[in-house]
Symmetry: D2
Subunit: 509 residues, 4 copies
C-alpha cells in the first residue's frame, strides 16, 4: 500500500514554527557525568547537534558528595564539597552546555525519611530542616557565581524538584509539602540574585491539570517568584514488563500534543502568567528505559512530528536523554537495551539522533507543515525540509509517496537528501543480524556504527518554468532530510564529463 500525499507550495505562504528542538537535552543522574563514556557520548551529541542546555536529576544526591556533616565538640555542623560538582559543570561548559538546574533530590543526611527512587537510590523525602535546604541551594549558587561569574549563572534556568505529583518521586505526592519546598527554594534562589529564573512544578502527565492549576494559584496568591512553568510529557500507555524489557503501546501524536495545549491554556488563563514560557523538561515516546522502541526508526520518525509542533506551545522540550549511560533501572545488559538515549553505549547514534540533527538545520521561515513534513526557507532562498513516515503497527507496511511543488526561480539547482530508514540507517537491525552480542567487540561496534549514518544523495536539476517537482518515496518508519539550493556550476578548462570513461550522466530529467 502506498499513500500518496501532494503539497503545492505557493510563493508567499507561511506557517507557524518555533524551532526550539536544540534548547535543552536530558541526562541521567549528575553523578554519571563523571564517567568517561558519558562524556564521550555527550561530546558526540554536541559535535553533531549542539544543544544549549542540559537537565537531569541528582544534583544534591549523595554520590555528588556536596552536602556533608561532621561533628565538632558534640555539635553537628555542615560543610559543602564541590569537587565533583566542579568536574561536572566544567565538563558541560567545555562541551558548550549550560545546566538547566533541577534542585533535587534530598541528601540522605538532610532527609526527613528514607524513601528512595531508582536503582541509584535518590532520596525523595522533604528535608528535616528547610533552612538547611535553603542554605544548600544558596551555597551552591554562590559557589557557581564564584567559579563561573554572575553573568553566566543568570543564564541558567532553575526548576524545583522532579515530578512531585508521583509518589515515587515525592513522598506521598504531597502537594502542600511541594508548594512549601517550592516557596523556600525559589526564595533562596532569588536571595542570591533576583535575575536568576526559577520555575516548577516539574510534573508529569498524572493528575497534571489539577496540579498545574493549584500550583499557579498558590504562586499567584502568595506572590511567589515564578519565571517559567515546567512539566514533562511521554507518549505511551502502561508497560507490560518481561525480563529486562517493557512493552507499551504508543499513543497518537495528537494526543501527546493536545496534553501540552491544555497546559498552555491553563497557564494563559492566569492573567499574570499569560504567555509565560512553558518548558517541557522531559519528553520522549516511552517513559521507561527498557522499551526498545527508543532504539528504532519508528522512534525517529514519530519524534520528528513532535519536534515540528511542540514549539507551538513550549519554549523548550528536552528529549530524555542524550545517551545510554543511565542507571535508573540498573545497568544495561546490552548496547540496545531500550534505554532513552540518542546514542547507544558503544558510541552508536540511534535513528532519533538524526531527527535532532536534521531539525537543527531548519532555519528561516516555515513554508509548509503537516503531519508528515515541514519545510523552511532561509534568507538565501535555500529550502530545507524534513519528511517522515511513522508506522506504529508492528511489521506494518505503509509507504508514503510525498510530492512537493516548490516555486523557484529558474536556474540550476542541487537537491541534497539524507535518508534514515530501516535499511540504510538502522543499527538495531545490524546488531540483531550479527547475533545481538551482549558485549560486542570493537570490530562488531565498528560494523554497527557503519550502519548508523544517513544515506546521503545528491541530484542536479535545471528549472526553466519557475517550479520544481520533488517527490520522495518513504518506506515504513523512514525519516528524510532534504535541501534545495541554487548552484552556479564552474567548469574547469578542458573538463568534458561526456568523454570520461566511468562518468555518470550528469542530470536525469
Amino acid at each position: 500500500m502506498i499513500n500518496k500525499i501532494k503539497c503545492n507550495i505557493a510563493k508567499d505562504t507561511s506557517f507557524p514554527f518555533n524551532n526550539n528542538a536544540s534548547f535543552c537535552i536530558g541526562t541521567g543522574r549528575m553523578g554519571l557525568a563523571l564517567q568517561k563514556a558519558y562524556h564521550d557520548q555527550l561530546k558526540m551529541v554536541q559535535d553533531e547537534i549542539g544543544f544549549s542546555h542540559i537537565r537531569g536529576h541528582g544534583l544534591f544526591c549523595d554520590d555528588m558528595a556536596i552536602y556533608q556533616q561532621y561533628e565538632e565538640n558534640g555539635v553537628v555542623k555542615t560543610e559543602y564539597n564541590f569537587t565533583y560538582l566542579d568536574m561536572v559543570i566544567d565538563d558541560y561548559i567545555s562541551l558548550g552546555l549550560k545546566p538547566f538546574v533541577e534542585l533535587g533530590f534530598m541528601p540522605h543526611k538532610m532527609a526527613s525519611d528514607t524513601q528512595t527512587v531508582f536503582y541509584w537510590k535518590g532520596n525523595v523525602t522533604p528535608p528535616k530542616d528547610y533552612e538547611k535546604w535553603a542554605n544548600l541551594i544558596k551555597a551552591t549558587l554562590l559557589h557557581w557565581i564564584d567559579r563561573y561569574g554572575l553573568e553566566e549563572v543568570i543564564t541558567w534556568p532553575f526548576e524545583v524538584w522532579n515530578e512531585p505529583n508521583l509518589t515515587s518521586f515525592w513522598k506521598n505526592a504531597d502537594m502542600q509539602e511541594y508548594f512549601k519546598l517550592y516557596e523556600i527554594s525559589a526564595k533562596a534562589v532569588k536571595e542570591v540574585d533576583s535575575r536568576i529564573r526559577i520555575g516548577g512544578p516539574a510534573i508529569c502527565g498524572v493528575d497534571d491539570e489539577r496540579w498545574l492549576k493549584e500550583f499557579l494559584s498558590y504562586c499567584s496568591k502568595n506572590k511567589l517568584p515564578l519565571d517559567i512553568v515546567t512539566r514533562h510529557a511521554y507518549a505511551t500507555e502502561l508497560p507490560d514488563r518481561v525480563g529486562h524489557y517493557d512493552y507499551q503501546k504508543l499513543r497518537a501524536p495528537e494526543v501527546f500534543l493536545d496534553e501540552l495545549k491544555i497546559s498552555r491554556e491553563i497557564i494563559d488563563s492566569f492573567p499574570e502568567y499569560k504567555g509565560m514560557e512553558m518548558h517541557i523538561t522531559e519528553f520522549n515516546t516511552s517513559y521507561t528505559p527498557k522499551n526498545p522502541i527508543h532504539d528504532t526508526n519508528l522512534n525517529a520518525a514519530y519524534t520528528a512530528r513532535l519536534l515540528s509542533e511542540m514549539g507551538d506551545t513550549c519554549a523548550s522540550y528536552s528529549y530524555w536523554t542524550f545517551g545510554d549511560i543511565f542507571e535508573e533501572q540498573g545497568v544495561a545488559f546490552t548496547p540496545f537495551s531500550g534505554c532513552f538515549g540518542l546514542v547507544a553505549n558503544g558510541m552508536i547514534p540511534k535513528p532519533t539522533f538524526w531527527t535532532f540533527s536534521f531539525f537543527k538545520q531548519l532555519t528561516g521561515s516555515c513554508i509548509a507543515r503537516d503531519k508528515n513534513y515541514i519545510l523552511t526557507k532561509d534568507e538565501n532562498d535555500v529550502i530545507r525540509g524534513i519528511v517522515w513516515n511513522p508506522v506504529e503497527e508492528i511489521h506494518g507496511e505503509a509507504d508514503i509517496d510525498l510530492s512537493f511543488q516548490l516555486p523557484l526561480d529558474n536556474g540550476k539547482y542541487v537537491i541534497i537528501s539524507k535518508l534514515v530508514d530501516e535499511n540504510t540507517c538502522n543499527p538495531l537491525k545490524t546488531w540483531l543480524d550479527i547475533g545481538s552480542p551482549n558485549y560486542p567487540s570493537e570490530k562488531e561496534l565498528a560494523l554497527i556504527k557503519s550502519c548508523a549514518n544517513p544515506l546521503t544523495s545528491t541530484q542536479r536539476k535545471t528549472i526553466s518554468d519557475k517550479k520544481l517537482d520533488l517527490s520522495f518515496l518513504l518506506k515504513r518508519n523512514a525519516l528524510l532530510y532534504f535541501e534545495v539550493k541554487k548552484i552556479h556550476p564552474q567548469v574547469d578548462r578542458g573538463f568534458q564529463p561526456e568523454r570520461i570513461q566511468g562518468a555518470h550522466k550528469l542530470e536525469t530529467k
Copy 2:
C-alpha cells in the same frame, strides 16, 4: 541488459591467489612528503588500508636539499644535508611505512646536463662524476643506518632510477649509460651492507621486452648484484589532451596482465634469475595525472580485477599513487582533477580507495576466482568475497546478476556487504551535482565526504541444507565486498523483537 553469472563452489576447491595488494603504495616526489596535506592523506590511507612500503621519485632532487657543494680555498667540496630527509622518513615510519627506495633523480650540481622532467624539474641526466653519485648513495644509507638501525634498513628494497627506457626520464633513454648507473649504484649499496636488496630496471611498457632481456643479460654477464626485478604497468592508450585534462581509452585487463606474464617469462628464462621476485613499482589504469577516470567507480571496479590476478606473477604492485598532493603536471585546479590518488584533495576517499581496503580483508585460501569475483575462506571458515562490474563504455549499462552457491555447515549466519557504486559511493558525482566548485568550502567538502563511504548492509540467514545461495545485483561499475560468518545469537532476558513497535522482521528467507 542483465548478465547472469553463476558460481557453484564445491567443498574443497582452491584457486591460486597471492594477495600482495598492500605491500607497496606510490607517492609523488619526496619533497611533497613535507606537506601537511600529504601527511593527512597518507595517514587516512594507512588508518584504513595500512600499506607496508611506499615508493616515489625525487629522493635526490634539489628540494630535498641532500647534496650540497661549497667552496673552500678555491676547492669545491661536498656536504650532505639530511634535515628534510629525516622529517620525511620519520613521518613514514610513524605511519607504519618503510621506504621502497628509488635512487634518483640527479642533484643539478652533480648532473652532466640540464634536461629535466615534470613541472617540478627533476634532472634526468647522468652524473658528471659517478664516484660522487656512489658517495651520495653510501652517505645516505649510512645516515639511515645510523638513525634507524641496520636491521631496519635491510628491510627496505632499493631500485635504481625510474623508467630509463623513456627519453623524458633518462637522457636519450641511453641503455648502456643506465647499465653503468645500475652497476655503480648496486655496488655502492652492497658496499654498505650485502643484505640490502637492490634491483632494476624500473622500466615502463615501452620497448620493455628488449630492455628487460638486455638488463638481465648485462647483470648476468657482469655478475652484478641483483635481488629483485622492477617494472611499471599502465592500462591505457595514448591521451587526447584538452585544457587541463587527458582523455584515453582503457585497455582490456587481459592485455595488462599478459604484459606482466611476458616479463615474468623473460626473468624465468634466465636460470640464475628464475623465480626472482618481480615488483611492479608503479601501476594504474591511466598513466597521466589528468585523466578523470582515476576518480570514477569504473576505476575501482577495473582495479579489483587487476588486484585479483597480479599476484600470479608479481611480488608486489604499487598503485600510483596514494593521494593527490602531486605536482608532476602542476598543481591541480580542482579536487577532482583526474590525478592518480586513492584520496582526492580535501581528504576525500575515491572509489578505488575502497578496492584496496576490501582486498586488505581477504585472508586464507582462495575458493573461487574469475573475471568478476574472488572469494576466500579463512581458518575460522569465514568466507569473504569481492565482486565487481566494470563497464568501459561511456554511459553504458550492463548490470550483472552474480549468484554463488556456498557449501556451509548448518546454522545461523550473517552476511555483511559493503557496496561501492555510482549511486552510493561516488564523490565525483556529488561534486558535479553541487556545481563542481573549484575550491569547495569546508561544508561542501563535508557533504562530498558523506557520499564517499560504502553502503554497509547486513542480513541474517539460517542454513539447514548445508548450502547458502547468495546473489548480488551489480549495476554498472559497482564494487562490492561481502563476508559470510557463522553467528551464535544471544537473547537477553525478556527481549522479544516481535513485540517491539518499530522493529523490523528479523530474517527474510
Copy 3:
C-alpha cells in the same frame, strides 16, 4: 649542616638490585575506573612511567553491577552483567595495563551479613552460599577469556580478598573463614585454567607473621593451589586525626624493609614454597588517604630508598595508588588532600610520580647502592643513578653533599640531571603559596603544574684520567636522577661558539 658522603666505584663492582618498581600500581575501587578524571590521570601515569599491572578493590562490589538476581516463577535466579567490567578492563588494556585481580568484596545480595568498609560501603562478610561465590569467579574468568583470549588472561595474577587480618576488611578477621574463602576461590580459578596464578593471604602488617605462617601451613597441609604470596606494607605509626586530615610519624625505612624480610623468611622456611614470588600488593608511606605526607618531596625521597631495596625480597610492590580519584574516606575537598596518588586531582604530578619515573630508567647492572643512592650501568656503558635525601624532621635542615668517583674511559661526556626538590618541583608549595584554593581555576592549575616538573640540567665533561668526579648537593628532601653518557660531538661547518654573542662557555672544568 651538610653531611658529606663519598663513594668510589671500582671498575667491576656489582650490587644486588631487582628493579620491579613498575610491575604493578594500585588504584581505588574499580567502579571509579569508569570516571574520565581517573582515566586521564592513569593515562598520564602510563605515558610517563608505564606500569605493567594494576590492582585495586571492588571488582565484585555493587557499583560494578556484575552479580544480579531476579525472580522467575517464585525462584531467585542469578545473572551476570559485564557491561561496566568490560569498560574498565578495555580501558586498562588500551593503556597498556593488565589487571592484578583482587577477588572481592562481596555483592550485598550474596553476603551473609551487612558489615561494610569505607565511604563507598564495600561488603566485607563471607558469602551466604560459597557455591554462588565460586560461580561468580568462574563466570567472570570465562567472560574474560571469551573477550580477551586465554593466552592473555593467564598473564593476570589473582589474589583472594584484601587484608582479612583486619576486622574492618573481613568480618571478625576470622582466619578459618578466610582459609575457606581462599580454598574455594583458588579451586574455582584453577578449574577455569590451571595456568592462572593464584595467591594470598593479602594481609597487612597486623599480626602478620602468625597469619602468614598459618596460611602457608593450611595451604601446604591441604595441598591447595598457591602460586604467589601477597601482603601489604606501610611505613607509618598510628594517626592523630584532625578534621579532614591524619598526622602520623614515619618509621625508619629499615623497619619497613625488615618486615618484608621476615615475611620472605617465613615463606622460605616452607620447603615447598621456598623462593616463591612474594608480591606486595599495596605499599606506601602512610596508610591513610588523609596524610599530606603523600603530597610532599619527603615522600618522594623516602620512597626512592624503598624502591632501591624492596626487590631484594619481593617480586613486585604496588604503590598505593596511581591517582587521587579515590573515595575510601569520602571525596577530597581540595587537590592536596593527603591522598595516596602519584597524581593529584587536576592532573598534577606529585614529587613521588618522579621517583617512579626515575626508577623506570634504571637498567643494566647495579654498580653502587647505599642508603642514599643507587647507580646502574647498561650494556652501552651509560651510567644512571638516583640519589635522595629524606629529612623526616619537620622543617629540619640536613643537606647532603654526595660525591661519586666513576671509572670511565677517556673521552667527552655529558651529565644529565633531573632535580626534584622543595624549590624546583613542589606543587604542594605552589598551591599553598597561591592561597590553597579548594577548587582551583584552570589558570591556577596551569601554574601549579608548571611547578611540578623536575629541573633538568646538562653539563659537558672531558675525561682524560679514566675517572669522573661527580658531586651533588642535595637539599632536604631532594631527589635527583642523573645519567653519564659518552658523546661524540659534531661541529657544523663554521660553527664557532666562542664568537657568538650570548653563548655560554662550553665546559666548566
Copy 4:
C-alpha cells in the same frame, strides 16, 4: 660585578607603554606554509602567545602556483590557481591568524627580467605588463572575498613589495619604478574595496630616510591611497661569514629605537600623514638567518627592551620570524642554525619565545619602565613585570640586583616568577652539551625541550606596611617575568602545615 638598580614606585605614577607585541609575527615564504613542521611550529606559537596577524614573502612566487599561463589558438592566456593559497590561508585562519599581506614577488612568467633573491629564487623584477600585475592582485582579493567574506578581508592590512631600497630585493633598487608599482598596486586594491588598508614602502634601514621622504612626497603629490607606513629594522652590524654561519656585532638598543623615531618624525612632518600608523613589518636583532645569536638568552633579554619601547612609535612590530622552517639561505643543517625563529626545528621554544609570551601577559597601565624593566598594573590591581639583563660582551659577567618597592594594600600576596636564563632555560646549551648532534633523535629532542621552559617559582608575602620590597638577582642574559597578586587563603578543616612531615615553611619573611 653586580649592578644594583632600585626603583621606588609611587602610588599614582604612570608611564607610556603601547603593548603591540603580539599584533604581527613574521614567516618564511608562503610556500613553506604548506609544510607540516611549519604548521606544528606555528600552532605551538599560537597556543602560547597568540599573535593576531602574520606576514611573510612569496605570495605570488611560482611555488604558490597562483599565476598561470596557457596557450589557446596561439594566444597566451592567463588563469589563476588558488589551490595552495586556500590551504595556506585556511590554515592561518584555523590558527587564529589573519594575513598581513605583502604583495610580491613576481611570477617568473610575468617578470620583465630573471633576477632572483634567495635559495628559493624569488623573482625581484618589475612586471612586463603592469595591467597583468593589477589583475593578479584584484583576482586574488576577489577570490579571498568570495571565500572568507568582505568583512573579514578588510581587516587584513596590505603592503606593496619588500625592501625595494635594496638591489637584491628590487632590480636596481629603482625608486621611481617602485613608486609606479606602488601606485598601480594600491589602486588595484582600492578598486576592489576602498576600505582595504594599503601601505608601503616596506624599506629596510639602508638609505631609509631619503626613501621614506620621497615615498611620502610622491604619494602626497599624486594623491595616492596610503593607509599605513611600513618599514623594517634590525640591530646588527655587517656580518663576518664563516661556513654556514654569520657573526655580527649587536648595536645598542638605543640606536635601534632612534632609527624608528626618525621615521616617525618624517611621517609626522607631512601634515596629511601626521599620526598615521607605522608598522615595522620585520624586526630582529640580526638580519641573517645564520647568526646563532637568535638562539641565545641574550637575544631574549635584548628583545625585551625593544618590546618595551617600540610601541612608542609603532603600531606593530613583527618579529622575523615565528619558526625555523625557512629557506632563504638554504635548508638548515642543524636544529640550532642561527635562524630567526622563536621556535627551533624539532619544536623547541627558544628563549625569545618566552619574551613574547611574557609581554602578552602585560595588561593595564604601565607603572614603571626603564632600560631593564617594565611593570604594569591591571584593573584588579595585579602587578606584572618583566625584567632583563642583556650582556653583549661574549662570556661577559654582569649581574644585576634589581629592587622594587611597590605600593600595595596590606594583606597576603603571592609573587609568581618565571625565569629564563642561561642555566634554567637554554636549549642551545643543552644541545651543545649533548654533542650538538646535527640530526637529534626523538629522545634527544625530548631532553632539549625539557630544558627550554622557564623555571616557575612562587612565594607568599604578608604586607602590613603598605609596601612590598621585591628584588631579583639577574645573571647575565636573564629574563624574568613576575606577578604580584593579592590572595585570600582558604584553609581546609584540619589542615595544619606545621604538622606535616616533609612540608616546607610557609612564608619566608
